[in-house]
């Protein structure tokens, strides 16, 4: 649920409750005001009536006239009374039949004890009241219209607000989603007049900048460290070469030197691969040219055929021509690493290399993996602790594929490891 929806829901609920409460409240207060008004009118009319009746005091048959008047006037009753107590008056609301509207309607009555020509009378004046039902109906209608307008208005407002008001927020969000510390530069700040968003944007871009700096420092560090290691490794190697020339060495001593040399070579290779990775990361392989993949693969396979033969691994290839635009050195590394990986992990048998429909597939026999295939392309993950493997070959392959957007996938089927590289981006 979106933030605006949450706040909208609360405000809608609140206005609904208020409107609902306002129905009885306004009904009651309207009722009260109307009744008071009618009561005042009735009292005024009664006083007026009595004032006028006094002017007719001289009439002999006023008594009969009053009787007639009582019959004629619809909203005035005047009847003789037994009660001598004058001045008492009583308000009440009654319901009586309205012959005009043909329904029962509420009426307000004021009954007063009056003395006319020495005789007690009860004077009752009545006025029609607004029908309660109608009142409720009218108020309800008004309030309902209010709710509809309020809710509709709020929804419309919300929609346009969430589009306009939150636009900078969603822009920042989409930038953050697309942000990659190794690729993207900085996050461009969109200026808004909302303080919170400005704060957010500034914080985000600051954070991104700092991350990028840390990342660059680290990258630089790896590259520098690898470079710095080259010289001591060179000295180590040179001293070993000198030591080897010493005459009269025993076989055990010689074996020790060979082991040392193999270790030095492993260090050098590890270092070289780390350097290579960091160079790919630093995008130092920029020059692009047209590369004929099938030709390159063919040459590289010819180069390692002899090595593979010596390990009882045969290589078969079916290569369709494929031209791509890329850095030749990188493609060479990509292919070499894949081929070497296949040969290295084939105990005995066959490595198949197929280039078909923009996809290079390298298949080799071998036991199923014991490690998690998901970690296959991570740095320093090795299936077998073979001494000379650096655990970086496939990581480099992955990095190159990422750089050019090639699809890279691994699967195990029919007792074979299958690696495929989709030069069209399909894994």
């Amino acid at each position: 649920m979106r933030l605006l929806q949450v706040s909208l829901r609360s405000s809608l609920l609140y206005s609904l409750v208020i409107v609902l409460i306002s129905i009885p409240v306004s009904l009651l207060s309207l009722h009260k005001i109307l009744n008071d008004e009618v009561d005042e009118l009735l009292a005024a009319h009664t006083a007026e009536f009595l004032k006028h009746i006094k002017t007719f005091d001289y009439l002999e048959d006023l008594e009969t006239d009053l009787e007639v008047f009582d019959q004629l006037a619809y909203d005035i009753d005047i009847r003789p009374s037994d009660d001598q107590d004058t001045g008492a008056s009583r308000y009440e609301t009654i319901s009586s039949y309205d012959s005009v509207a043909h329904e029962r309607r509420p009426f307000r009555e004021l009954s007063s004890q009056v003395i006319i020509k020495g005789k007690p009378y009860v004077l009752t004046l009545r006025m029609s009241l607004v029908d309660n039902d109608e009142l409720i109906y009218a108020i309800g209608l008004v309030q309902f219209a209010l709710i509809v307008l309020l809710a509709g208005g709020l929804l419309l407002l919300n929609r346009s607000l969430s589009k306009k008001l939150w636009e900078p927020f969603y822009k920042t969000l989409s930038q953050l989603k697309a942000y990659q510390v190794d690729k993207s530069g900085t996050i461009a700040v969109v200026k808004t007049n909302i303080i919170e968003f400005n704060d957010l944007n500034q914080t985000v871009s600051h954070l991104a900048d700092r991350n990028r700096k840390v990342f660059l420092h680290q990258k630089e560090f790896i590259e520098n460290a690898s470079h710095e290691l080259q010289t001591p490794l060179a000295i180590f190697q040179a001293k070993l070469d000198l030591l080897m020339q010493k005459p009269g060495m025993s076989e055990a001593e010689a074996a020790l030197i060979t082991d040392l040399e193999a270790t030095a070579q492993r260090m050098a290779r590890l270092n070289k691969n780390l350097l290579l990775l960091s160079k790919i990361d630093n995008e130092q392989f920029t020059g692009k040219e047209e590369v004929e993949v099938s030709k390159l693969a063919d040459d590289l396979l010819s180069n390692i055929t002899f090595t593979a033969d010596a390990e009882n691994v045969s290589i078969t290839r079916t290569l369709e021509p494929l031209r791509i635009n890329a850095n030749k050195a990188l493609i060479e590394i990509l292919l070499t690493n894949l081929f070497h990986n296949a040969v290295r992990h084939t105990p005995e048998g066959n490595v198949q290399v197929q280039l078909h429909d923009h996809t290079l597939t390298v298949t080799n026999h071998g036991k199923p993996l014991t490690m998690d295939p998901g970690k296959m392309f991570d740095r320093f993950t090795k299936e077998s602790p073979k001494s000379s493997s650096t655990g970086l070959g496939l990581a480099i392959v992955k990095r190159i594929c990422d750089t050019y957007g090639y699809g890279l996938s691994y699967r195990y089927e029919n007792g074979c490891h299958v690696f495929s590289v989709g030069f069209n981006g399909v894994a």
């Binding site: 060179a234 020339q245 060979t258």
Partner: protein, 224 residues
Amino acid sequence: MKILIIEDEKDLQNSMLQFLRQESYICEVASSEEEADEKIMLYDYDCILLDINLPDGSGLNILKKLKEVNKPEGIIIITARDSLDDRVEGLNLGADDYLTKPFHLSELNARVSAVIRRKQFGGSNKIKFHEIAVDLPGKLVTVNDRVVELTRKEYDLLIFLLANKNRVVSKNAIAEHLSGDHAEMLDKFDFLYSHMKNLKRKLAEAGSEDYIKTIYGLGYKFST
């Protein structure tokens, strides 16, 4: 043959010096750009080993100066920075070869001798060792004037051993030399053994003496 080693790392400088002197080269050393400039202006060398990363400047400057004064030396660049740009720039500036640290001294030796031969003998570049003769431009190997058919790897192997004759060359160094950039799977030397076996057999069949000696646990030595 005079060689100038321009390298600021004393330990490495000494090792190179020691190894190349045994090859009966006359070697001199320089540890900085200034020192190197001085020596280059005063003397002529057959080969200059040039470290690109010097404390007081880039070795590429020295290379530029050398080319300006048109000195005929063979130049091998040595660098810790295995960057393609450096390599391309170095070779464009007229360097003859390029070697990345770390390297085997036997590899350095082979490169030095190749550069010197190319510079000195040009088109008629031949190596002779007793009854074995190699015509380098034609890549032709003969034993007592009989042509020996060698594969490319066997030929490379023979040249490498000849360049390092009378020295112990380790299996690792040979394997690395033969596989070049493809040195990723050197945990087994089976391919090396079979190349070596074939080379020895072909030389023997052509009537050559067996000069390639196995140094157990270490490698090989080409010697009389």
